[in-house]
């Protein structure tokens, strides 16, 4: 699809902005609609677009499989880890109040990290699934 001159150029122009937009959605989830999940999906969509246009191999070079797989696990670990930190600091599980001296600040901090965890896992999984599906050769049709 790289050969599609028009597509290639527009995609090149758009992708960085899509990524920034994804991060914007991520970090402004507190104030406007959006949050970790949506941001994860959008970021993954940007990479998918890249993969669609420049071919799966280049997408794989950009974000290697190993990284993606680590992301898949890492997000859940971050999320669950935030819970454990709350536990360690003397609160209940997933208690954000204890994360900072001021309870509200603690909540904010907790939500922030939790959303990051969600985003990492989601984008990791979406990308991984995309790689998995797009990367397979179709078996010869037996019909």
């Amino acid at each position: 699809m790289k050969g599609f001159l028009v597509l290639r150029i527009v995609a090149k122009m758009l992708i960085p902005y899509i990524l920034v937009f994804a991060l914007y959605v991520q970090f402004h989830g507190d104030y406007s609609p959006g949050g970790g999940f949506q941001a994860g999906v959008i970021a993954a969509a940007a990479i998918m677009l890249y993969g669609l246009i420049f071919g799966l191999p280049s997408a794989r070079r950009l974000v290697p499989d190993a990284v993606v797989e680590t992301m898949v696990g890492l997000g859940v670990l971050i999320y669950a880890g935030v819970g454990l930190v709350g536990l360690a600091l003397g609160g209940n599980y997933l208690d954000y109040f204890v994360l900072a001296r001021d309870p509200v600040a603690g909540q904010l901090r907790g939500i922030f990290w939790v959303e990051i965890g969600v985003a990492i896992t989601v984008s990791g999984v979406m990308l991984k699934i995309f790689y998995m599906f797009a990367g397979r050769r179709r078996r010869d049709d037996t019909r």
Binding site: L5, V6, R8, I9, V10, A11, K12, M13, I15, P16, Y17, L19, V20, F21, L23, Y24, F27, H28, Y31, Y50, F54, S58, L62
Partner: protein
Amino acid sequence: MLRIASLLVALFAFWVLMSGMFSPFLLGLGVASVVAVTWLARHMEIADREGHPAHLRLVAVVSYWLWLFKEIWLSGLKVARIILDPRLPVSPTLVRFAPSQKTAVGIATHANSITLTPGTITVQANHQEFLVHALTRDGAAGVVESEMNRRVREFEGSDLEEND
């Protein structure tokens, strides 16, 4: 290097415009995001002349867009009339012609502009040849050696070598 810097600036401007919030925390996040994305963009090799055409003159771009909008408006009216005409007077046509642009950005702009104008659609576009599908024969005639062609040629700038 300059290109990276300008991409950084552009992305950050985008962030600030989207966000509209200026707490240090969010701005900091913005800077971090932008840097990360730029780094990624470099790895994608999309921050080049094609992907981030910072060399174009802003004035030229804006004036081109204004002109293009006028074109869209005119041909839009034409197509609308055709649609609403009970006889549906279409005479679909395919034309081929060679564009006079040299840079990829120019080609893409030209192709996109043709497609944007209702009544004409670029089916294939490369340096040698455009294949355009037009709703009417008049429209087809208007595409070949058009003013659009000339204007895009002007605004893409000829002084830079194409390094595609």
